[in-house]
C-alpha cells in the first residue's frame, strides 16, 4: 500500500501572499496545528503553524536567541502581545513559513509513512516529486482510521 491510497486529497492550504491574519483565522477556526503554505502554482513552500504564531507575539530577538531565556523583565501584558501580533497581521504569511519535516510522495510505502508519523507532531504533506506541488496530506487518523475500519 502507498501514500496515495490513504492521503486526504485537496487539503486546506494558505497562499504565501495571503496575510498572516488570514492564516491565523484558518488555524483558529479549524483548530489546526499547522497549515501548508503554497505558492501561486500550488508548490509547497513550507507550513505556518501554532509555534510560528506564538513566535509572532514575542519580540523577534527573544525567539531567535537562546541567550534570552529569561523574559520576565519585559513586563508584558496582554495588550503588548496583541500589539506585536497586530503589527504582523498584514505581512504575507510566506515570510513566516517554516520548514516542514519529512515530505511524502504518492508512492511512499505505508510503513515509511507510519515511521515518519511516529516522529512528527504534525500531519505530513504529500507532494509530487517532479513539481513539488502539494497534492494531499496524511494524518495519523488517516492510517489508524483505516486500520480500525478494516479490523471491524
Amino acid at each position: 500500500m502507498t501514500c496515495s491510497e490513504i492521503m486526504t486529497s485537496d487539503p486546506v492550504t494558505v497562499r504565501e501572499d495571503q496575510p498572516v491574519a488570514a492564516a491565523t483565522a484558518l488555524l483558529r477556526d479549524n483548530r489546526f496545528r499547522s497549515v501548508p503554505v503554497v505558492n501561486a502554482d500550488g508548490k509547497m513552500i513550507g507550513q505556518f503553524g501554532i509555534q510560528a504564531l506564538l513566535g509572532l507575539i514575542l519580540p523577534k530577538t527573544a525567539v531567535a536567541d537562546d541567550n534570552l531565556s529569561n523574559l520576565r523583565y519585559l513586563n508584558d501584558d496582554l495588550a503588548d502581545l496583541q500589539r506585536r501580533l497586530v503589527e504582523e497581521h498584514d505581512q504575507p504569511v510566506g515570510k513566516y513559513a517554516e520548514e516542514v519535516g519529512p515530505v511524502l510522495h504518492p508512492d511512499t510505502a505505508i510503513s515509511q509513512v507510519v515511521a515518519h508519523l511516529t516522529k512528527s507532531r504534525n500531519n505530513l504533506p504529500v507532494v509530487e516529486e517532479a513539481t513539488g506541488k502539494l497534492i494531499g496530506m496524511v494524518s495519523y487518523w488517516d492510517i489508524i482510521g483505516r486500520i480500525l475500519e478494516d479490523s471491524q
Binding site: 519580540p59 523577534k60 530577538t61 531567535a64 536567541d65 541567550n67 529569561n70 523583565y73 513586563n75
Partner: protein, 472 residues
C-alpha cells in the same frame, strides 16, 4: 629518515628519547613551512582554528623540530592558559545570574530610553565589562539585550551593535585581562603586571572612547529617534527581574572582587594571574554548589566546565607549541634580525625605541585588522624579545622603560586593530552572528567602510599618546 617519524610515533615522546629532524631536513625550514601552512589555513577560516593549530603543533613534534614531547610542552605558557580558563569559569557561573542583562536594561532606563543615550550607556557598559572580563563574553550577553531594546524602540540596531563591537575592543585594551593580546603580553613579559596596564595603557582608553563616540554621533547618533510610545515600552522593562539568582550574584561579585584585587596585589607577593583566576574559579564553583546534592554538584560543575571556550584554550596551546618550535629552530632570530635591521642608522637607544614602537603600533594595528590578532601577538612577543637581545649585543641596549614602550605599542596596536574589520576580533563575529539571526545582518564591506577609518583614528590617538608620554 622515516625512522625519525616512526621513533616519535612509537614512543619517542618522552624526555631523553631524542628525535632527529625528519629526512635530516633543516629544522629551520621545517618549522618555517609548518608555521606558514598553519597560519595560512587559519586565515582561510575554513577549518576550526584550534584543530589547525593542534595539527601544526603535532607536526612540529612529529617532524623532529623538537627533540622530544617535553620540549614542546615546555613552550606552552601555562600562565595564559590558567588565566583564560579561570576567568572563563568565573564568567560561566556569573552569567547565569542575569547581571549583564540587568546592567543593559538598567542603563537604558537611566537615560529615559532615549536612543542616543542608550547607545552611549551600552557603549560604556560594554567597554567596562570588556576591560574586567573578556570581550567575547561581554558582547555575547549584551548584544541580545541590545537587539531586544532596539526592536522595542522600532529603530535599526546597526549603530548600537557597531558601537558595541568597537567599544568591546577599546575597553578590552585597558587591562591585562581585557583582551587576549594583553593576556599574552602580561603573561610572557615578566616585568609587566596587571597594574602596569592600569597605569600605562588604561589612561588613554577613555580619550579613545570619547573620540570614537564623536564620529558615531555624527554618522548616526544625531538622527536616532524613537516614538514616545516606543520609549515608554522600554521604560516599562523591569531591570530587577533580569536577575535570576540573587544569592549566586552576591557570591559571583564577591569572587570577582577578590580576583581583581588579587591581580592588583598578587604580583609583588609572587602570585601570577593564573593562580588568582584559577583559585577564584574554583572558589566560585565551590560556593555555587554548597547546597546541592552530590549528583547535582557533579552535574552543575560538569555543565560549567562545558561552557569554558575550549576552542580558544586549545588554539592557544597549539599556537604556543608552534611559535616555540619556530623559536627553537632559530627562525625567530631571522625575523628579529629584520626588526633590528629596521633600526639601522639610529643614533641611540631612544631613537631605536621611537622607530620600533611606532612601527610595531601601526604594523600590529593593520595586521590585526586583517588576521586574528592572537597568533600575530603570539609570534611578535618572542620575536621582539629576541630583537632586544640582538640590539643589546650590537650596543643598543634598551632599558626596561624603553622595552615597555614597545610592549604598550604592541598592545594598543593589536587590540585597537581588531576594530578594523569584521574578522579582526572574535567579538566582532559574535555580534555579527546575533545580528544575522535577528534579521539585521552586518555586511562585511559596510562594517569595513565605517570601522577601518575609526580604527586608524584610534591608532593615531594611541600614536600621539605613546609619543608624548614615552618618546619625548
Amino acid at each position: 629518515m622515516i625512522l625519525s617519524l616512526a621513533t616519535t610515533l612509537l614512543g619517542g615522546g618522552g624526555e631523553g628519547h631524542g628525535v632527529e629532524p625528519l629526512f635530516g631536513w633543516d629544522p629551520l625550514w621545517i618549522s618555517g613551512v609548518i608555521f606558514v601552512l598553519t597560519y595560512g589555513v587559519i586565515m582561510t577560516e575554513k577549518y576550526n582554528r584550534a584543530v589547525v593549530a593542534l595539527l601544526g603543533a603535532g607536526a612540529m613534534i612529529l617532524f623532529g623540530v623538537y627533540p622530544n614531547q617535553s620540549a614542546a610542552i615546555h613552550g606552552i605558557d601555562w600562565n595564559t592558559i590558567g588565566l583564560l580558563t579561570g576567568m572563563m569559569v568565573i564568567v560561566a557561573v556569573t552569567q547565569r545570574t542575569g547581571v549583564f542583562q540587568f546592567l543593559a536594561i538598567w542603563s537604558a532606563k537611566k537615560v529615559n530610553a532615549r536612543p542616543w543615550g542608550i547607545l552611549v550607556m551600552l557603549s560604556i557598559v560594554t567597554a567596562v565589562l570588556s576591560a574586567l572580563l573578556d570581550n567575547v563574553t561581554t558582547v555575547l550577553l549584551i548584544a541580545p539585550v541590545t537587539l531586544l531594546i532596539t526592536e522595542e524602540l522600532e529603530i535599526a540596531p546597526y549603530p548600537f551593535l557597531f558601537a558595541e563591537i568597537l567599544f568591546s575592543n577599546i575597553g578590552g585594551t585597558a587591562t591585562l585581562i581585557g583582551d587576549p593580546p594583553n593576556i599574552l603580553i602580561g603573561s610572557q613579559v615578566e616585568t609587566i603586571t596587571f597594574n602596569s596596564f592600569l597605569t600605562e595603557v588604561a589612561p588613554i582608553v577613555p580619550l579613545i572612547f570619547i573620540m570614537t563616540l564623536l564620529p558615531i554621533y555624527v554618522m548616526w547618533g544625531r538622527k536616532l529617534t524613537a516614538s514616545d510610545e516606543a520609549m515608554a515600552r522600554v521604560m516599562n522593562f523591569k531591570a530587577k527581574e533580569a536577575i535570576t539568582n540573587v544569592p549566586l550574584l552576591k557570591k559571583s561579585l564577591a569572587v570577582l572582587t577578590f580576583v581583581l584585587l588579587g591581580f592588583m596585589v598578587g604580583h609583588p607577593l609572587g602570585f601570577e594571574p593564573a593562580t588568582v583566576a584559577m583559585v577564584g574559579g574554583a572558589l566560585l564553583l565551590l560556593l555555587d554548589n554548597l547546597s546541592r546534592t552530590p549528583e547535582e554538584k557533579s552535574e552543575n560543575v560538569h555543565h560549567t566546565f562545558g561552557e569554558v571556550e575550549w576552542v580558544t584554550i586549545f588554539f592557544f596551546v597549539g599556537l604556543f607549541v608552534i611559535v616555540h618550535g619556530l623559536e627553537n629552530a632559530g627562525a625567530l632570530d631571522i625575523l628579529a634580525e629584520k626588526v633590528v635591521g629596521f633600526t639601522e642608522g639610529a643614533a641611540n637607544s631612544a631613537e631605536v625605541t621611537t622607530r620600533l614602537s611606532i612601527a610595531v603600533l601601526w604594523v600590529s594595528a593593520v595586521a590585526s585588522a586583517i588576521v586574528d590578532n592572537i597568533p600575530f601577538v603570539a609570534t611578535m612577543i618572542p620575536t621582539l624579545k629576541t630583537a632586544f637581545i640582538q640590539l643589546s649585543e650590537q650596543g643598543s641596549v634598551l632599558d626596561l622603560d624603553q622595552q615597555h614602550t614597545i610592549w604598550w605599542s604592541l598592545s594598543l596596536g593589536a587590540c585597537l586593530g581588531g576594530n578594523g574589520s569584521l574578522i579582526g576580533a572574535s567579538a566582532n563575529l559574535i555580534v555579527a552572528g546575533f545580528a544575522e539571526r535577528a534579521g539585521s545582518p552586518i555586511r562585511f564591506l559596510t562594517f569595513l567602510k565605517h570601522a577601518f577609518p575609526l580604527m586608524l583614528f584610534s591608532v593615531a590617538i594611541a600614536t600621539v599618546y605613546i609619543y608624548l608620554r614615552y618618546l619625548i
